[in-house]
Amino acid sequence: MTETEAFEHPFAKYLRAAMMPHIWCSGCGNGIILNAFVHALDEMQMDLNKLVVVSGIGCIGRAAGYTNVDSFHTTHGRPIAFATGVKLAKPELEVVVISGDGDLFAIGGNHFIHAARRNIGIKVICANNFNYGMTGGQVGPTTPLEALTTTTPYGNIEHPFNLVHLAAASGATYVARWTTLHVRMLAISIKKLLQREGFSFIEVVSPCPEIFGRRNKMRTGLEMMEWFRKASVIENFSDPAKAEITPERIVVGEFVDVEKPTYEKLLHDKMAQILKESED
């Protein structure tokens, strides 16, 4: 009998094996997003001692526990506020928020627009699964019109957010949208997100077959991916205002990539200037 040699997975160092198996349903896109994130870290040879992952409540919120870095799992809606505190206290750290659409844009919506407006140098990855998956599939801020959820059993009447438009309008310096079908583009985009200085945002349209899909004629992860394949078009630097997600069309790509001074830098410069003036 030959002894099998135990190989360590090349990405093992990025994840906490003790936390596995993960809680995500089969067909869920969260694993793909985490995978793309880890790929980006590996390709960048990111110093894990300089990386902080913050998440909120929701299925993807577990990402903070799964990644093998300093991390914090906040209460509902607060990851951006928490990340802001980390970034201000330790500007040298790379602070990444990985959370969901309900967490970031409903209960935490105010934090998002103000962090983007101030251009705090944090990076936000949003898994958009169109509903509150973890609590059982209630209507949320990105639920498409007419979609069925547990709280809209005959169809949603609320207009959803167009997240990339919201991010761009709020002042984010890097804005992109991909679906979990665009794995490579997503990983490349996450690399860019990590390289940017200012408030950066990626929306990842993600399948939720168990909770959202099965109420909306997409029972499996594959069927949801099939929707992404049919509907998505790559249009880099198109107008984010015209990028609403509809059953027929999901515009993906990069929408914004600009540079402007971050809050931390302006704060530092302002303090230096005041100190200098008081010395003079």
Partner: protein, 410 residues
Amino acid sequence: MKSLVEQKVLALNGDEAVAYAAKQADVDVVAAYPITPQTIIVERFSEYVANGEVETAFICTESEHSALTACLAASLTGARTFTASASAGLALMHEMLFVTSGCRAPVVMAIANRALSAPINIHGDQSDTMAQRDSGWIQIYAENAQEVYDSVIQAFRIAEHPDVLLPVMVCLDGFQLSHSVENVNVFPDEIVKKFVEVRRFPKVLTHEGKLALLKLDPENPMTMGPLAFPNYYFEFKRQQEEAMKNALEVIRQVHDEYARISGRNYGDGLLDYYYLEDAEIAAVCLGSTAGTVKTVVDELRAEGVKAGLLRIRTLRPLPFEGIQKALENVKAIAVMDRSMSFGGYGGAVFHEVRHALYDYDKHPFTVNYIYGLGGRDTSPMQIREIYRDLQEILEKNRVETPIRYVGLRE
């Protein structure tokens, strides 16, 4: 007691019992935000809305803070208003809890009790509502799904009573009650509708000098929630306290009237007494744990031990005199707290009960048991140990450890 009307038995969990009661109570506005373990309440209710079974304006807001704010505003226009939450959701409502009670808006809210972060925990304990016991809301804690149903219906009558006009929380233990299916006797719709009545309004003098119903109405304009500086603020608060005092009697009346129709009573509506007449040792607790304690008391009684239980059903307003009277002859008391008051020498219920006993000449031994935090199970065996501790205290005639923790690794 016999029921005056025919009731049907439904298999409902606690959350569904809440939703069913709210549906029958003819609610005008529901605004809510999902949070475990309360989600089923709002899901079921949204089905009633979608099916046209209720005439309720319903919105899933973007946070609990917005949910209660919308409920408050709706209530001030005269609408019967309901919402539900738990844990961090209730904590996020904190600001609006005080505004709601301060505006004397009779909003009814079900709370599926759940632990507070950090660390994150979705399971049951009573830290969330205990942290809000000074917010001016009436708090009723239910023992089982049947009582949940009955309490929600009673809550509307209590909240909207002109002598009370205070918001009411009906608290049900997360998962133990919210998610456990039980047989629940429910009334026909028209009986509930008759019981809750149409909302009544007291008449107040407006700034125009007219007598008008206390609600926002363009015909009789008035301002709600304006500034009240040091010259008047204090009087507003004193009136809230007076309303709480009135609530003690109203809760009892509403409970008794309901009991006559339903054939079900929960002590006197404020306190639920179990073998206390001749009890030498007794536990005091809230919520679903009382079910387990009652089983243990039955066993102990069969063994000849004079054990009893006092279940506090209404924590706010606190039935202060009732607690004194109920524990009059008990020699050793174990107060059970499913939350902590950090640094406060024992839990919140312990504070209340010891406080109530202070004026008595006979000072019974009173010890505190903190239990079940973050959903940790509390077994009949552990409850037996609590009674055994009380027996030991009586034998030794002294208390060695006044504050104890049930089933804790130390």
